[in-house]
Amino acid sequence: MSQVSRNAGDSALTRRELLSRGAVLGLGLPTAAALLDACGGSSTGKSSKTNSIAGTAVMSNYPAWMGSHVVADFERLHRGSKIKQITSASSSIAGTVQQLKSGTYDFALADASATGQADAIGLVAPLDWSKIPNIKFVGKSFRAGFPHGIPTDYGKVGIGYRPDLVGEKISSWHDVWRLAPKFSGKVVFIDIDRDCMGSTLKYLGHSGNSTVPSQLKACRDALVSIKPHLQAFLNTNVGQGLQDGSTVIAMDWDYDVAFNKQKQPKIEWVFPTEGMVAYIEGWIAVKSSRHLPLVESFMNFALEPKQYANFVNTTGTAYVEPAATPFVAKSIADNPVLRPGLAVANVEYEHFLGQATALWTTIWQEVKAA
């Protein structure tokens, strides 16, 4: 057992695990592990009573947005439990909320904005944090930014660019707006309102979560002014053009820049001096769920540093659990773009905007239609 896991204080659990495995292998009784689990307590909350976590919990998730062996490991450990993923997670607030309303899901992947709205409607089940002690491994700022569930990943919106093609150093959003006419048709922005408008608000010196109508209108004008010089608003493969130089400046997510930089080392990532917005994603339990103990148990399991590292290594995302660093692939852990701690300074996390959501949407449509 690793240093980190020992720090988690789960030595009793290790013994119980061994007993479970011995029972399964030696006696050939598949249910023995479950019985042992059911009889024993858990100092880590890794599993509560197995009989209460048996069954199938349905999760709304992105395709392949799960550690390669996390679910299998959990199901092996907790016989009779099953995690069924439906890859239908929506990137829109409305889509997420409608899914949670459907009664199909026990828990879901969602960002902080959607989670906030779902909570405002009463769709989010409050979690019993005593069952999820591994939440302590998550950085405090991420927990604060994602209070209704367990944070799993985040994405900062910064600047990716090609210094060799731009010919000068970019250090701010102001530089992007200044250089856009010079590199007209070679600048790409993100096609998601919260990220794109949030970054533009930062450029204007406002909060990335602003709900002030005059600031939002100024944001619209700034985006409309730069739009003729944009190659596109993209929501996938945003920085791909940086590889071959068809794009020279991109408003982009950290993980996308890190990914493209692996293929084109000339790409540079910029933490804009005005600051950045970032989304936080995580798992929330749905109030209508009848498998809350199973959901909480799986959440706790997925936050174990080794399991969480498997998720990070599978997806390549920027991660929220510093304790997982020893198990994270060096290409990610040593990447200053993705590693937590250094990167999160000067970041404002996106959160639920309340009634101002409609105004954001209208302004975003005005930008797109202009």
Partner: protein, 310 residues
């Protein structure tokens, strides 16, 4: 019952084997059976249409007069027309005009490319015709999304078409993520829907007519203008309807080839439903678009006889 079996005027005598007695089935029984049979035959289609077309249409129309709290997503049916009022805003009108323009332009593009192609196919031997028709249809066997995404590679900066243009003219052909790339994508996707009805119209034409026109001194262009075009007109009109209507509401192609910079009305409707979650306003936009299309179709229907008679 006895009357029915006894037969009489207006009955049918059913021939039975010699051992059996002759039975007369009255007309009204036969008519009733026909009605039942017809009803059974129509029922699946009628049921399907009712459930999956009429009911959603009614639902969307009802929703278009509702209002919604965009935080709770609770819809209240207060019969308000405010959604239709919002449609009058410059943002949506401008987008609608852009959609109409792109739809008309791409339909014209399909007609200009499809008519000569269909004519060329009909002038081939039957075996060659089948091969050429297969060439027109085969792309439909591939996923629409895959075909559309393939245009991203073809049109992108440094892509095959860009390199070809540079080689031939010295100028770059950088049209990806512009209205031009959307138009190219729509024409490519809908061209078979224009070619096939025109082919059907021209395929029925006696080829001797072309020879007669030539014998009477008509040069190829005059032949095409005075013989082929009038004969192709019914197919052309059908093609215009089949291409123009879906092109107007297209949203996938603008999404992929427009780079999020060129919105069509279909994109706004999708956004209202999936991103904003404003079902009433999305419904109002959908009903408005449908109404506009119906008006255009009725107008076309009124002028169609005159066009075909010319």
């Amino acid at each position: 019952m006895d009357d029915d079996l006894a037969g009489g005027e207006g009955s049918i005598v059913v021939a039975e084997p010699a051992s059996a007695s002759r039975v007369r089935i009255p007309d009204r029984l036969i008519a009733r059976r026909h009605r039942i049979l017809a009803g059974l035959l129509v029922a699946p289609t009628a049921g399907w249409t009712l459930v999956f077309f009429v009911a959603p249409l009614i639902l969307i129309t009802v929703f278009s007069f509702a209002s919604e709290n965009l935080v709770t997503f609770n819809v209240s049916f207060g019969w308000t027309a405010s959604n239709y009022g919002a449609f009058g805003g410059s943002l949506y009108l401008w987008t609608l005009l852009r959609s109409v323009g792109l739809s008309l332009g791409t339909t014209l593009g399909c007609a200009v490319l499809g008519l000569p192609l269909a004519y060329f196919i009909t002038r081939q031997r039957p075996g060659v015709q089948r091969i050429l028709l297969a060439c027109v249809i085969v792309p439909f066997w591939t996923s629409f999304l895959v075909r559309t995404y393939s245009w991203v590679n073809l049109l992108q900066s440094g892509g095959p078409l860009d390199r070809l243009a540079q080689g031939l003219t010295g100028h770059r052909f950088e049209v990806l993520y512009t209205p031009t790339s959307i138009a190219i994508g729509i024409v490519y996707s809908y061209l078979p829907l224009m070619v096939l009805p025109i082919y059907v119209a021209l395929e029925r034409v006696n080829p001797d007519l072309y020879d007669v026109a030539a014998d009477l001194g008509a040069r190829p262009w005059r032949q095409f203008r005075r013989v082929v075009l009038p004969l192709a007109r019914p197919g052309l009109i059908a093609g215009i309807i089949i291409v123009g209507v879906p092109a107007m509401g297209e949203y996938v192609i603008p999404e992929i080839l427009g780079g999020g910079k060129t919105l069509m009305i279909g994109n706004i409707i999708v956004s209202e439903f999936l991103d904003v979650g404003n079902y009433p306003f999305g419904s109002a936009l959908a009903v408005s678009l449908m109404t506009i299309l119906m008006i255009m179709l009725f107008a076309l229907r009124r002028v169609q006889p005159a066009l075909e008679a010319r």
